[in-house]
Amino acid sequence: MATTERDLGYTKNEIMIAASSRQLAAERICFVGIGLPNIVCNLAQRTVSPSLQLVYEAGVFGARPARLPLSIGDPTLVSGSTAVTSMFELFAFYLQAGLIDVAFLGGAQIDRFGNLNTTVIGSYDRPKVRLPGSGGACEIAINARKVMVIMRQAQRSFVPELHFRTSPGHSGDPAHDRARGWFGTGPTSVVTDLGTWTFDEETGEMTLWTLHPGVSIEQVRENTGWEPRIADDLGETPPPTTDELRLIREELDPEGVHAK
C-alpha cells in the first residue's frame, strides 16, 4: 500500500480524516475523543464548519490546545478553554440531555447495522482478547444525535456476527428503531480506509456510498464479512485538497502521530 500512498500523494489516514471532516458541515456541538476524531474535528473547524463547538469527553469546552493533545485529558486542553465540567455534568447535562449533535465511535468489530464491539474477542468469560470495553461509547451511541464511525476495515473487523454488542446501532427493523425514543438513531456514516458508507433509510443497513480513489469494489468485498450493499449511484471519494493536506501536515499533526 505504501506505493499506492506515495502515488496518491496522501495516506489512508489523511483521506479518512478529510472525508470525515466534510461530514461535519452544518453540525453544531461535537463530542470529541483523541486521535483521528480530534484531527477530524479541528480540520472541520478550519474548513467546512467554522462555528463547530468541540466538547472533549474529559469535560472541556472551547479548548484552545497549544499543542496536539496526546491524551483525552491532556492539560493543554484545559488551559485557555472556556469551561471545565465534572464527568457527571458532562454525561448527564450534555450527552443524556441531547445537546450533543455528533460524536465519533470506532471498534474492533462492526456489523452490517452499525452495532459495535469494543469489549471482547471470543467469549466474555474467557476472552481470546480482552478489549477496553464501553467507556462512554454505549451512552454515546444511545444519546448523541448523530454517530460517525471511523475505522479501518477488514474481514476480522467488518463481521457478520459481533462477539459482543457494546454499543447499539440499527436493529434492522426501522419501525423498531423509530419507536426506541432515543436521541441516537444508530450510526449515520462509516469512513474506512477503502471508502465511505451510509445507512439505508429503510433497512438501516450499511451501504457503500463512495470508494476512495484507486480502490476497487472487489477490495471492499474482500474486506467485508458479508455481501456489502452498494449504492446504485456509487461515487468516488474526493481526495484531500491541498489545503486540507496542508492543515493536517503543518498545523494539526505536524509530527504525523495520527495522520501518517
Binding site: 462555528s51 469546552f61 497549544a66 484545559v78 469551561a83 471545565v84
Partner: protein
Amino acid sequence: MSESKVASMRDAVADLVRDGDTVAIEGFTHLICFAAGHEIIRQRRRDLTLARMTPDVIYDQMIGAGVARKLIFSWLGNPGVGSLHAIRRRIEQADPEPLEIEEYSHFGMVCRYVAGASNLPFFPIRSYYESDIPKVNPNIRTLTSPYDDATEIYVVPPLKPDITIVHAQRATKDGDTQMWGLLGCQKEAAFAADRVIVVCEELVDEAVVRRDPNRTVIPGVVVDAVVEQPFACHPSYTQGYYDRDNAFYLQWEAISKHPEALEGWLKEWVYGLDGHAEYVEKVGAATWGALKPGDAFSGEVNYGEYA
C-alpha cells in the same frame, strides 16, 4: 466561534419570555435577578407558571402584578422578615383571583431541576416519608428499589422551564458565564430550560473567562441571550459587587400587605420607569454607596502553559 448573543433586557424578555411560559428566575438569596422580573411585569406577560425554590419578594411583586396563574415552590416567605402578602392573598382569599400552587420541599425542587437538566423521567429522593406533602401533591410518587425490596423511595418529576433567567457576576458575549458565592440551583435550572437568559454585572472579554475555566458555571452553548445589567439583583445581592438591601426586604412587609400600596410601588418603581438604568438612578448613589462591600480578593491559581 458563535455569534454574539448580547441583548438589552427589553429585547431579551420580548424575544424569549412568552405568555403561558413556565419561567424560573432562580438564585438562593444571592443573585436573584429582580430587573428581569420587573421587565416581565413591564411587558405585561400573562398566565405564566412561576417556578422558584423561594418565591421571595420578586415573585410577590410579579404575582401581585398579575403575570402568573400558577406557582411552583418549596418555601414561601420573606426570609427572616415576614410574609409575601400578595401571594398569600391569592392563595388564602383568591384575591383578586385564585393562584394554582404546586408545592415541594427544597431538595424536591432541586431534584426536579436535576432531572430536567439530565433528561431523566424522575429523580429519587429520601424525603416526604410520613409527611402530608405527597397527599396534596400527586406528582410526588414512590418507587421500589430493584436492589432491595425493603427500600421504598419517593420520586419527583423533571422540571423543564420554558425559560430560565439567571444572574452572574460576569459573562462573555457567547454566554460563557462565571459566578462565585452561593450557587443555589442556577446551573441545574439553566440546563433544564428550553431557553436561557444570562444577566450579568459585567460583560467581559473571553480572555478573562479563559484564564479560569473552572470558574465557568454555565457554558455558552446553552445560553440564548446575554444581558449586561449592573445592580440587576437589588434588593438581592451580587457577591463582591453589592450587599443585600435588608432595609428594602423589611419595607416590603408593609408594601405587600396593602394592595393599593403594592400597586403604588409597582407604578413608581416598575411601570413608571423605562428600565433598570432608571431604577438604579432612582435608588440613588447614597444607597449604592452604603451597599458597596470592601475588597476581598480570591488570589490566583496557576493552570500552567502546555505548549
